[in-house]
Subunit: 131 residues, 2 copies
């Protein structure tokens, strides 16, 4: 079995409503949204092309991020955690990067425990959204 | 030899000045800065702790990002490209995530050419900053 690099959910809600619920559910697990890229607007503005509704959120749990960066300055290369939300017909797809897979890229065993903790929380977010 | 997951440069310039030069140099290679996390301020505000000057920039080349996302909706999990800038004594360290390594995580061979193109540009950015 291939290891998936993301927690995934499909929501039976239109994009704008789903996006709000994603942010609220992240908050319940201690993740604030530090950055937000509106991909559709960016492509329209920079390239003059149309694209589906698509957002890339940067989610951050401050205590876990602080532990990671205090141990390893390179950890900023994989922070904040990407959460992708996009329109899929009359529903919405949510992808949350799995910190366990992401942190493996860095090859720093000290970060494993932190990634596991973040991963458990983000998996709960995906499960709650899929309900 | 371990494969490094970042292009690295040390600049003999204080943080604030270096940060401006990083953004200008990214622009010359077609990368705009879509997001910026001021880690020091975030930790001070959310946790009340001190941290060194440290920024996480999200750099995006719109044509390359559009090609990636048109081929693979999962690509948003590794976009924009992280560029880390932090204070290191009287100089500044810059780390740019290598798209070749990052895209490997996704296991999508269709994205290899785009990652190579982005990687060449970002490597030139790191080389220019190290001068």
């Amino acid at each position: 079995m291939l290891i998936d690099y993301a927690f995934r959910a499909r929501m039976d809600a239109p994009y704008a409503q789903a996006l709000g619920r994603v942010k609220d559910t992240l908050k319940l697990e201690g993740f604030g949204v530090l950055t937000e890229v509106d991909v559709k607007s960016t492509f329209a503005e920079k390239l003059g092309v149309e694209f589906r509704d698509y957002a890339i959120l940067g989610a951050c749990n401050p205590p876990l991020s602080h532990r990671a960066l205090s141990q390893e300055l390179d950890a900023g290369l994989v922070l904040p955690c990407n959460v992708v939300v996009y329109e899929d017909g009359d529903g919405t797809i949510v992808l949350i990067a799995d910190p366990n897979v992401i942190v493996e890229t860095l090859g720093k065993p000290d970060l494993t425990g932190i990634a596991e903790e973040a991963g458990k929380r983000l998996q709960r977010v995906a499960e709650a959204l899929a309900k």
